[in-house]
C-alpha cells in the first residue's frame, strides 16, 4: 500500500455510512409503487449483480432494504422500484427528480440466471417481487438465444396492480417469453407441458414466503432438483452486512447468506412457523 492508499483507506466511508445519490428519473408504476433512477453525487457508480439489494436512506426519516430492479451493465443508473408501505418507503416513493437520497451497498447474493444457459429459465413473481427479478429478466432478454424456453409467471393481489406492463408485453411479443398471469395456474400449465424438462429448468422466484414455498414444492414434486429453484427471501434487514442480527433465519443471515437461496437450503428453514 502506498501512502495515498493508506490515507484513502483511513478516510473511506465504512459500510454503515450512506453515500448521497441524486434521483435523476422517477416513474409512477402503480398507485403505490414508483421506480427511481439514481446516480452518485460524488465518485463512481457502484457495481452490482442481479438479485442484490441496497440500503436506501431518506434523509432524516430512516433506512430500508430495497432490491435493485435495474440492469447490472456498466453505465446503467442504479434503479429501484419501491412500494409505499411505511414511513421510509413513503418518503422514497414521494421523492422527486433532483432530490438526494442515501445509498449503502450492494449487499447479498445474486440470482445467477446464466446457470440456466442451454435450458429453460422460469421467473415466478408475486407483486413487487417482480422488481428484484427484473435485472435477471433483462439479462435473459439480452442473451435470449442462449436459453430454450423463458417463462414468466406473475401474480398480484387484487387491487395491487401490475408492474412493468409495457415491458412484459415487449418480452412476450419480441423476445419469445411465455408469460402467464397467476402463479398457481401458470405453474400447473407449464409443468404439464410436454416439453417441460425438470432437470433443465432453473426457476427464480420472488414474492410472499407462502407463494414461493408452494411454487417450490410444486416444482420439486415434478422432479425439479431443489438446488435449481432459487428464492429471494425477505426479513427485517437493518445493517445489510450480517452484524445487526435482525434478518436471521435460524443459522442464516439473510443479508449476507441471501437474499437469494436455493430451495434445498431453505427446506428446513421454511418448515417451521415464525422461525
Amino acid at each position: 500500500m502506498t501512502a495515498t492508499d493508506v490515507a484513502r483507506e483511513a478516510t473511506a466511508p465504512g459500510p454503515m455510512a450512506p453515500r448521497p445519490y441524486r434521483v435523476v428519473a422517477r416513474r409512477q408504476d402503480t398507485h403505490d409503487t414508483a421506480t427511481l433512477d439514481l446516480i452518485p453525487l460524488y465518485g463512481e457508480q457502484t457495481r452490482w449483480r442481479s438479485g442484490q439489494f441496497m440500503m436506501l436512506y431518506a434523509f432524516g426519516v430512516g433506512e430500508i432494504a430495497v432490491s435493485i430492479s435495474g440492469g447490472a451493465l456498466p453505465g446503467e443508473p442504479l434503479r429501484h422500484t419501491i412500494r409505499d408501505v411505511g414511513a421510509v418507503s413513503h418518503a422514497l416513493v414521494t421523492s422527486r427528480v433532483g432530490d438526494v437520497i442515501g445509498v449503502r451497498g450492494p449487499f447479498g447474493t445474486s440470482w445467477d440466471a446464466m446457470d440456466a444457459v442451454g435450458g429453460d429459465l422460469m421467473f415466478i413473481a408475486g407483486g413487487i417481487g417482480l422488481a428484484p427479478l427484473r435485472p435477471s429478466i433483462l439479462e435473459a432478454v439480452r442473451r435470449r438465444g442462449e436459453f430454450r424456453h423463458v417463462i414468466l409467471l406473475y401474480g398480484s393481489r387484487p387491487g395491487e396492480g401490475f408492474l412493468f406492463t409495457d415491458e412484459i408485453e415487449d418480452w412476450e411479443r419480441n423476445h419469445g417469453f411465455t408469460v402467464r398471469q397467476g402463479v398457481r395456474a401458470g405453474l400447473a400449465e407449464m409443468t404439464s407441458r410436454e416439453e417441460f424438462d425438470p432437470l433443465r429448468t432453473l426457476t427464480l422466484a420472488c414474492g410472499p414466503d407462502i407463494m414461493m414455498e408452494v411454487a417450490a414444492k410444486t416444482l420439486v414434486g415434478k422432479g425439479v432438483p431443489g438446488e435449481k429453484v432459487r428464492l429471494s427471501m425477505e426479513r427485517s434487514m437493518h445493517c445489510g452486512i450480517g452484524l445487526c442480527g435482525h434478518c436471521q433465519l435460524r443459522e442464516a443471515f439473510l443479508c449476507v447468506d441471501g437474499p437469494v437461496f436455493s430451495y434445498d437450503q431453505l427446506v428446513p428453514l421454511l418448515a417451521t412457523e415464525e422461525l
Binding site: 450512506p18 453525487l41 442515501g102 450480517g242 452484524l243 445487526c244 442480527g245 435460524r250 443459522e251 415464525e274
Partner: protein, 381 residues
C-alpha cells in the same frame, strides 16, 4: 511464575496508568458488582461475595479480605467495548445534497480490564469472531477493542448459576489475557500468583515488585482452581446439543417457556455475547442535521422481526426459541463456536427464573432418544 502482594497490585494499577491505560475493575454500586474505572486497590471491593440463583442476586459479606471473591460482575466487558448506545455518523444538508461524517469510537485512552473472568474472555473471543473476523467488520468495535490490556483473575468462588465448565471454560483464565492473577489468602498471607500471557504483560509486570513463586503458592492455586471447578452451580449437557435444538423447533415445550417468559430482554442485556443492534435516527427541527445512533436490540422485542405488513416472530414462544436456538446451535453454524460461555447471567437476571440449562434439558428430554431419530425429526419436519 511470580507472586506479588497487595502493594504489588497497587503498583500494577499505577504501572498501567503510567503506560496510558484507563483501568477498569470491579466496584460495588447499588448493591451489585459492576465494572467501572478504578485508580487503585482502595477502589476494589474487599470481602464482598455474591449469592446467585435463578432470579436471585445479592452481595454478601464474605468475612474475609478477598478482593475478587465474587463470581461474576453484573455485566462483562461488552458494556465498555460494545456499548449499549453510540453515535455512528452525523449527516448535514448541503446546498447540493448532504455530507456524512462518521464518528470515531477510538477511546481517548486504551482500556485495561482488571478482574476479567475466563467467561468474560471467552465472550470477548466470541465478539472478536462475530464482529471483527468476517467480510464486514464492526468498525467502532475494532476501534475500542484495539490495544485493550487484560489482567484476568481466577474465579475462586463460582456462583449458583455458573456452568462455564460445561461450556469448555474454567475458573482459571485459559487465554486472551496479558496477565492472569490467582488470589491466594491463607496462612502464608494475602498474595497473587501471576501468570504472564503476552509480551506487553511481561513489560508491565517488570515495573511491579514481585517475588519468585514457591511450590506452596502454585499448589494452593491448583487446589483453589480444582475446588472452584467442582463447585459449578449448574451444568449443561452439550452432547449433541446443536442437533437437539434444531430438532426441537416444533416442540410443545416452547409454549411452556412462553407462559413464563415476560419478553423483558434482561437476558439479552446481561448476556456477554448477544450482539444484536438497531439504529435510531434523530433529526433537528430544521431537518438539516441528522444523527444515526446504534443501540442494543433484543430478539425478544416485538418489533425485532418487523417487516412491512407484520412481525415474523409474533409469539413469545417463537422469540424464546430464536434466542436459545441461536445461542446453543445457530452460532456453531455461523461462527464455529457456541454463543453461550456458561456465565449464568441470563439465569440470575431473569425475573421469571427461566434457566437456559433447565430449558435445554427439558427440550432434550422431550425428543426421541436415539440420534437417528433426531436426524429424522430434523430433516422431515
Amino acid at each position: 511464575m511470580r507472586t506479588m502482594g497487595l502493594a504489588g497490585l497497587d503498583e500494577l494499577v499505577e504501572a498501567l496508568g503510567r503506560a496510558g491505560y484507563e483501568v477498569f475493575g470491579p466496584r460495588v454500586r447499588d448493591g451489585a458488582m459492576v465494572l467501572a474505572p478504578i485508580s487503585g486497590v482502595a477502589d476494589l471491593p474487599r470481602g464482598v461475595g455474591d449469592t446467585q440463583d435463578a432470579a436471585h442476586y445479592r452481595l454478601r459479606d464474605r468475612g474475609d479480605e478477598r478482593l475478587f471473591g465474587y463470581a461474576t460482575a453484573v455485566q462483562g466487558l461488552k458494556q465498555v467495548l460494545f456499548p449499549s448506545h453510540e453515535l455512528l455518523w452525523r449527516a448535514r444538508k448541503t446546498p447540493i445534497g448532504f455530507d456524512v461524517e462518521e464518528a470515531d469510537a477510538t477511546p481517548p485512552k486504551p482500556r485495561a480490564f482488571l478482574g476479567a473472568r475466563d467467561c468474560d474472555l471467552r465472550a470477548l473471543a466470541v465478539h472478536d469472531t462475530v464482529l471483527a473476523s468476517r467480510e464486514y467488520a464492526d468498525k467502532p468495535y475494532q476501534q475500542r477493542r484495539d490495544g485493550v490490556f487484560v489482567v484476568a483473575v481466577t474465579c475462586a468462588d463460582p456462583g449458583g448459576t455458573c456452568f462455564c465448565v460445561s461450556q469448555g471454560g474454567s475458573p482459571k483464565p485459559q487465554a486472551g489475557f496479558d496477565l492472569s492473577l490467582t488470589e491466594l489468602l491463607d496462612d502464608d498471607g494475602h498474595r497473587f500468583l501471576v501468570e504472564v500471557g503476552s509480551e506487553r504483560g511481561a513489560q508491565i509486570l517488570a515495573e511491579v515488585s514481585t517475588a519468585e513463586a514457591v511450590a506452596a503458592d502454585t499448589d494452593a492455586a491448583d487446589a483453589l482452581v480444582a475446588t472452584a471447578t467442582a463447585s459449578m452451580g449448574r451444568t449443561l449437557d452439550t452432547e449433541g446439543l446443536h442437533d437437539v435444538m434444531f430438532a426441537s423447533a416444533d416442540s410443545p415445550h416452547w409454549d411452556t417457556v412462553a407462559s413464563r417468559c415476560l419478553a423483558c430482554t434482561n437476558c439479552t442485556l446481561v448476556c456477554p455475547t448477544c450482539f444484536c443492534t438497531s439504529v435510531e435516527d434523530t433529526t433537528d427541527l430544521a431537518m438539516t442535521t441528522t444523527e444515526r445512533h446504534r443501540v442494543w436490540d433484543s430478539c425478544f422485542g416485538a418489533r425485532f422481526s418487523y417487516i412491512h405488513g407484520g412481525v415474523v416472530r409474533e409469539s413469545g414462544s417463537s422469540r424464546y426459541r430464536q434466542w436459545i436456538t441461536h445461542k446453543l446451535a445457530g452460532y456453531q453454524d455461523q461462527f464455529g463456536l457456541s454463543g453461550c460461555v456458561g456465565c449464568g447471567r441470563c439465569i440470575t437476571w431473569c425475573p421469571a427464573a427461566i434457566d437456559i440449562t433447565a430449558e435445554a434439558a427439558a427440550l432434550r428430554a422431550s425428543l426421541p432418544a436415539t440420534e437417528e431419530d433426531l436426524q429424522t425429526v430434523g430433516e422431515t419436519r
